[in-house]
């Protein structure tokens, strides 16, 4: 850990509000970006990003300084994002059950998927971003985490190992599978 991080940490542990603001200012974009790419929804991402910083501040005394402060913050962000994904999936499942109980079978066609995408459609710019985001959201949770950390947040394999608790070889092989899965999902659009 750098000297700057150590000094900041000491001030955070002393409950210094200005230190907390410095910490948020320094990491807010990357934390928000991570939660947004994990969740695919700005409102949820903002809410989770806030919870991440609150959790960081509340539990700062438990940080053991074995990794960089930023890596620890990422770990908190990944865990919060995963928890929110699980919560949203449960809520969606419950809502769906309630909807099914109240709807006639004949109504289901109305509630079906939106207009199918033309596979030959050429996409550009912002549309590519949207398609990429959709493809990321379709990845398995672990694959999504690895792609976001490595290919969007530019973290090293070593940092990803610290965040996920997985060994080096496992991170590499799963990251490769995640990239291949992502390639399959988006290739027809590019």
């Amino acid at each position: 850990m750098s000297l700057r991080d150590r000094l900041l940490l000491a001030r955070l542990r002393a409950r210094d509000e200005r230190a907390f603001r410095e910490l948020v200012e320094e990491h807010r974009d990357r934390v928000f970006n991570l939660t947004y790419r994990m969740l695919g929804n700005k409102a949820e991402a903002e809410d989770v990003a806030q919870e991440v910083f609150i959790a960081v501040f509340k539990t700062i005394d438990t940080f053991r300084e074995e990794s960089k402060l930023s890596t620890w913050i990422y770990r908190v962000a990944v865990n919060h994002s995963k928890n929110r994904i699980k919560y949203l999936a449960r809520r969606h499942q419950r809502d769906q059950q309630e909807l099914d109980e109240h709807n006639d079978p004949g109504d289901q066609a109305v509630a079906g998927p939106s207009t199918p995408r033309r596979p030959d459609r050429q996409v550009e710019g912002a549309q590519i971003d949207r398609l990429m985001q959709e493809a990321i959201a379709e990845l398995e949770e672990e694959h999504r985490t690895l792609v976001v950390l490595r290919d969007l947040e530019d973290l090293s394999i070593e940092e990803i190992c610290e965040i996920t608790g997985l060994p080096d070889g496992t991170v590499k092989s799963r990251l490769h599978r995640a990239r291949i899965a992502l390639r399959k999902k988006i290739q027809r659009h590019l």
Binding site: E17, D129, M132, V147, E153, H176, R179
Partner: protein, 124 residues
């Protein structure tokens, strides 16, 4: 057998992209990509996918009021426990405090000056 060889090569694509594939595996893979059209196309698709991810980096930034909101949330939830209670100067703008202080001073001065008996005047 040939399919297995392709799979083996494909499993090294990520390492090649990341620059972490050691020799002689790197040279062997590059040599294979020169001669195998299917693997070459497959690797190009992976590169294209990862390039598309690059364009998403750093977007979108956090909302402008993010720091204020999260600090305020901590204040509200902890009732001042974490940061310590805000001082009067933090809660009321300095300009307002200055105006109030001046008003108080002027009031005292007027009262002293207007005292009919003069008993409140300074110097008596």
């Amino acid at each position: 057998m040939e399919a297995e060889a392709h799979e083996e090569y494909e499993a090294q694509f990520s390492d090649l992209h990341d620059g972490t594939l050691a020799e002689p595996a790197r040279s062997a893979l590059l040599g294979h990509l020169e001669t195998c059209a299917a693997c070459k196309a497959s690797y190009a698709e992976l590169e294209q996918t990862l390039a598309a991810l690059t364009s998403m980096k750093g977007k979108p930034p956090a909302p402008e009021q993010f720091t204020e909101q999260v600090t305020e949330t901590i204040h509200k939830r902890s009732a001042g426990r974490f940061f310590g209670r805000k001082t009067l100067g933090d809660r009321v703008p300095f300009g307002v405090l200055l105006i109030v202080a001046l008003a108080v001073l002027v009031t005292i001065a007027v009262v002293l000056w207007g005292s009919s008996t003069g008993s409140l005047r300074l110097g008596h």
